[in-house]
């Protein structure tokens, strides 16, 4: 039960949505752009989320795109995770997505919703960080196309009036070898203790991590160390631990020290499984 009232809009064109957002913001109404609504429902009922207006973007065609063009895979922000999994155009994303929440919830949770979530795991962003994807954003001044590395720092840095439209990933990455492991406090359900995704591009390994810090990240420094062939595997792993961003999460899922132990094991597993030369 949400005990607060809010205005609900469901525009059918992008133009309408952008204008609506601008107007509502001019009126200083706290506005939320959503599609599935899972976070508003689940956090709103315990007073952790509140809004005065909602713009539901699930009828906007551009937000529902899913397909390949000449160069890229394009995924709309309002696609549900189950829809993306079923189409399986991006196996790494399918794998990450399929372990988020549960199947029922994933029928509602959208790609954009997970990436822009308040709950900080935002695991769906990991494949896009690994593939240097482009983020397509609609705003009052038109469409912007930005590298994910320029706009995603801990979370998606949307400006006032911006709506996340699509994510574009170069086709050449879609077939690259990958490994994605979600380690939980216990067994197969629950938030990640650590989710790590790795992609092998040529001989280089790329990794992106969620659940270790209160935000997902991909770190160039970490990758340089992992790919440094002058170091042994253990040296690489031990050095990586020293350069990781902070703070390391210390919560009911696991202590920080234990997370370090888990991460070291995962790195070892990834390096060995993807046969990175050491």
């Amino acid at each position: 039960m949400l005990s607060f009232d809010f205005d609900y809009y469901k525009p059918v064109t992008l133009k309408e949505a952008v204008q609506l957002l601008e107007t509502l913001e001019q009126q200083e109404k706290k506005t939320m752009v959503f599609s599935g609504g899972t976070e508003l429902i689940t956090l709103g009922r315990i007073d952790l989320s509140i809004t005065e207006a909602v713009i539901d973007i699930k009828d906007i065609q551009e937000c529902r795109v899913m397909g390949l063009n000449e160069k890229n895979l394009v995924l709309g922000s309002a696609l549900s995770l189950t829809k993306i999994e079923k189409a399986n155009l991006f196996p790494l994303l399918t794998k990450v997505s399929s372990e988020i929440a549960d199947h029922t919830a994933r029928g509602k949770i959208t790609l954009g919703g997970n990436i822009c979530a308040k709950i900080f795991y935002r695991e769906a962003v990991l494949p896009f960080l690994l593939t240097d994807s482009q983020v397509i954003i609609a705003g009052a001044k038109g469409i912007k196309v930005l590298s994910i590395h320029d706009i995603f720092h801990e979370e998606l840095q949307l400006e006032k009036g911006d709506i996340l439209l699509q994510l574009e990933t170069e086709k050449s990455f879609l077939g690259s070898p990958f490994l994605c492991i979600k380690r939980r406090q216990q067994w197969n359900s629950g938030y990640p203790l650590i989710t790590i995704c790795a992609l092998k591009v040529g001989n280089e390994i790329r990794v992106a991590i969620s659940g270790f810090c209160p935000f997902p990240f991909r770190s160039k420094v970490v990758e340089e160390i992992l790919n440094n062939d002058r170091l042994s595997l253990e040296e690489r792993i031990n050095t990586v631990i020293e350069v990781l961003p902070g703070p390391i999460l210390n919560d009911v899922e696991g202590s920080s020290k234990y997370r370090v132990f888990v991460l070291k094991n995962l790195l070892r597993e990834i390096m060995m499984s993807l046969k990175v030369e050491v």
């Binding site: 005990s3 216990q186 629950g190 920080s256």
Partner: protein, 776 residues
């Protein structure tokens, strides 16, 4: 006709699978108001002020209640204000209650109430609570009204102390060549029933108090409301529809009192109070925690000679049912083993944690974890196979229990037989550890359990049978259908006794305390035993009445008559008889003359020869019979990262007779699943303010489908002679051995002794010294 043992489909199954079954919160009415609680954000604090003027002026608000001037409540000890007054003693404790026209109006007003607190130091574990000179949760413990068998120690945090002194403990230690001593602990957790608790109250102008509630104990609700608030017992009518899972958590009486107070505050209008999941976890009573110390002594042959046991139960802020669990734990303190010299101190401790409700197994799965882990340590020290150690010390007819009850073939099941069957099912001969690959192994752990039901010595159960004009029967019993299928099993017992079609027996699912005969509480695996006994008496009553009417009609002696297939007939010539439909509403002769009349069967049962425990020695008979069981769990364990998968879980339980095979197996599997979740994942995480950090299903996670192992359930059949068709209680027993067996499997797999729950990979890592070796 054989109905006993058949997997008859539950009488309420079609309603349930079609989503048509109604639970308390499904009942609405236009005039119904809603209540909403304001709960404490801290574990222990003084309430400086409660400001609710603004809230009172919010739209739809009818009343706001606080704890001033309310009587103290509590089942065995009156230590709990229905709404906190002066102090809060646990995170989630109800402080104020808003009554408004709609749920959201009530919530909005509740959000507007501001409370100022002064934080107090927190008692964050039963061991802390036990330290001399520590903070007192109840400084006025000595002033509280108490029941006879409560032993509170004023000036301490001990709400009740139960002692067992059996044999000569010094002699026991002298005879012991080998001793082991170990400590165990785990925090409180939750029941997580699918249906959160809900109560509705209405006080009609004639003074009748109507309560509808999701409860295992509607008759207790009635008694307690009468006792606490001085209402006439007969004017309180409690109704319970189907209950969506309870696991003991709905045996405590809490929301009903609040609903009653809320209705009273608004002139008797109907008021509903429904827990959110967070309130159900925090505010309503939880699953008890424990700190235990166990010491066992054995002679050179591995025969147990002495046991010294200390249980510090984490009863939380209020004693309520925790005091009874403390006693039940003392009565069965050693586990199902014969030991001549036993010394046990079981303490119900106050802490600043949510207070405890019964939890399926009533303290037995908890104490079993400590006992069964210690036995494995003993086996290791003695270099005896842990299964063999259990078998040779298994409790047998002729042995005595810790409370000195002399057991016989009827009062205790056959544990050695359970152990032998377990040995086969878990493939014990294969070895406790099997290598799977470089990094993974399979490991097995085992455990045993026993349990008697330490319910009130005079607990009653009654049954009424009425007939329909087609000869079918209506069965009314005060047992609550909490998901166990007990009412279907009762129909089977009746069908068996009357040798009739079970489909012609209609079971009333709802209970209302005005017209349904009382069944004490639907707890402690006692539904089938007690209601079954009452039912058999009612069946005899019906048979007797039918024969009385049929005797002149058939012109035959009553002794020459037989009842079967919804008919009464001559034993030696079945073709001469009368159908039920022609006799159960009186028999009419061809000329219109009638005899007999409506047949109403009645039966009742009261437990016999149950006695209170001696306060100094514990001597006494706490329950009618002991169900025993043997358990095994097999895991696949990763030696590098300490993660594991549950592969197989086995329960072999002596249930006397199988009344409904699938229902019995379902009960055992369901209980095993709860036990594994409790052992492997479920716990409250507390911070230094006594706050529960995971009061949501996001972070408090029961077992999900797919995480479960393969379940293997088998039964041993040693009849309990005085039970309906020999059946023993089985509702709880699948749970009891799971924590111990999983703990033993993982301790074997990891090569370290595990002493805490839940058994997470992080716990194993920490026990292996991971923390000390870690760097950050």
């Amino acid at each position: 006709m054989k109905v006993i043992g058949k997997s008859v489909i539950r009488k309420e199954a079609f309603d349930k699978v079609n989503g048509r079954a109604l639970y308390t919160n499904d009942y609405h009415s236009v005039s119904m108001l809603s209540a909403k609680l304001v709960i404490s954000p801290y574990g222990h604090a003084r309430i400086i002020s409660i400001e609710y003027k603004d809230a009172l002026n919010m739209p739809g608000v009818r009343a706001i209640l606080t704890g001033a001037h309310l009587p103290l409540t509590g089942e065995s000890l009156r230590d709990r204000p229905p709404l906190a007054y002066d102090k809060v003693r646990y995170h989630g404790e109800a402080i104020a209650m808003v009554v408004a026209d709609t749920p959201s109006q009530a919530k909005n007003a509740a959000d507007r109430i501001t409370i100022q607190y002064e934080l107090l130091p927190v008692v964050n574990s039963p061991t802390e609570a036990f330290q001399p000179g520590t903070i007192l949760v109840h400084p006025k413990l000595g002033d509280y009204v108490k029941e006879q068998d409560m032993n509170p120690v004023p000036g301490t945090n001990i709400a009740s102390h139960v002692k067992i002194r059996k044999g000569n403990i010094e002699e026991g230690w002298k005879e012991s060549e080998t001793t082991v001593e170990a400590s165990f602990s785990f925090a409180p957790s939750d029941h997580v029933a699918m249906e959160t608790r809900c109560s509705i109250a209405e006080i009609s102008p004639d003074g009748n108090v109507h309560i509808m509630t999701s409860s295992q104990a509607p008759f207790m609700v009635k008694q307690l409301i009468a006792a606490y608030f001085h209402e006439d017992l007969g004017k309180i009518i409690v109704t319970t529809p189907l209950v969506g899972g309870a696991y003991g958590g709905k045996a405590s009486v809490q929301l009903e009192l609040l609903a009653y107070l809320a209705s009273k505050a608004v002139g008797g209008k109907p008021v509903k109070i429904l827990n959110t999941r967070e309130e159900d976890i925090l505010t309503s009573p939880c699953h008890i925690g424990l700190d235990a110390k166990i010491k066992f002594g054995a002679d050179q042959n591995g025969m147990l000679k002495a046991a010294e046991i200390q249980y510090l139960w984490d009863g939380g802020a209020y004693s309520d049912k925790a005091a009874d669990m403390t006693r039940a734990a003392a009565a069965d303190c050693t586990g199902p083993y014969h030991i001549d010299n036993v010394w046990c101190d079981s303490y119900c401790m106050y802490t600043n944690h949510p207070y405890a409700a019964p939890f399926r197994g009533f303290s037995h799965s908890e104490l079993s974890f400590a006992i069964e882990r210690t036995l494995n340590l003993l086996a290791e020290k003695l270099k005896i196979d842990p299964l063999e150690l259990r078998r040779q010390n298994a409790i047998l007819p002729g042995n005595t229990t810790p409370t000195q009850v002399l057991l016989n073939k009827s009062s205790v099941g056959n544990l050695p037989k359970c152990i032998d069957r377990l040995k086969e099912l878990i493939q014990w001969e294969e070895g406790q550890v099997v290598e799977v690959s470089d990094r993974t192994i399979r490991a097995k752990g085992i455990s045993c359990s026993w349990k008697t039901s330490t319910i009130e010595a005079n607990a009653p159960s009654g049954v009424i049978l009425t007939f329909n004009r087609d000869g079918s029967i209506n069965l009314m019993s005060g047992v609550i259908e909490i998901g166990t299928g007990t009412k279907t099993v009762l129909a089977q017992i009746l069908a068996e006794r009357l040798k009739m079609d079970v489909d012609k027996i209609h079971v009333r699912m709802e209970v209302d305390t005005q017209t349904t005969p009382e069944h004490w509480k639907t707890v402690a695996s006692r539904g089938t035993f007690m209601a079954g006994k009452a039912l058999l008496e009612a069946a005899e009553d019906v048979i007797k009445q039918i024969k009385e009417v049929a005797s002149p009609v058939l012109r035959a002696e009553k002794n020459d008559l037989e009842v079967a297939n919804s008919r009464v007939f001559l034993k030696d010539n079945p073709s001469i008889g009368v159908d039920f439909k022609d006799i159960v509403y009186g028999y009419q002769f061809p000329n219109g003359n009638s005899i007999g009349g409506q047949i109403i069967g009645r039966g009742n049962y009261i437990l016999r020869r149950i006695s209170r425990m001696n306060p100094e020695t514990g001597e006494g008979r706490p329950g009618p019979e002991w169900t025993v069981g043997a358990y095994g769990v097999e895991v696949e364990f990763d030696k590098i990262d300490y993660t594991y998968r549950l592969l197989r879980a086995v329960s072999v339980i002596d249930i006397g007779t199988v009344l409904n095979e699938k229902a019995a197996k379902g009960q055992v599997m369901g209980a095993m699943s709860i036990g594994l979740a409790f052992a492997g994942r479920e716990t409250f995480y507390f911070d230094e303010f006594g706050r529960v950090l995971n009061p949501q299903l996001r972070t408090y996670r029961p077992l999900r489908y797919g995480e479960n192992p393969e379940y293997l359930v088998d039964f041993v059949l040693t009849p309990q002679l005085d039970a309906p068709y020999g059946a023993r209680g089985v509702g709880e027993h699948g749970l009891l051995g799971m924590p111990g067996a999983l703990g033993n499997a993982l301790s074997t797999a990891a090569g370290v002794s595990l002493h805490h729950l839940p058994l997470t990979p992080e716990l194993i890592w920490r026990t292996k010294g991971g923390e000390e070796n870690a760097f950050l």
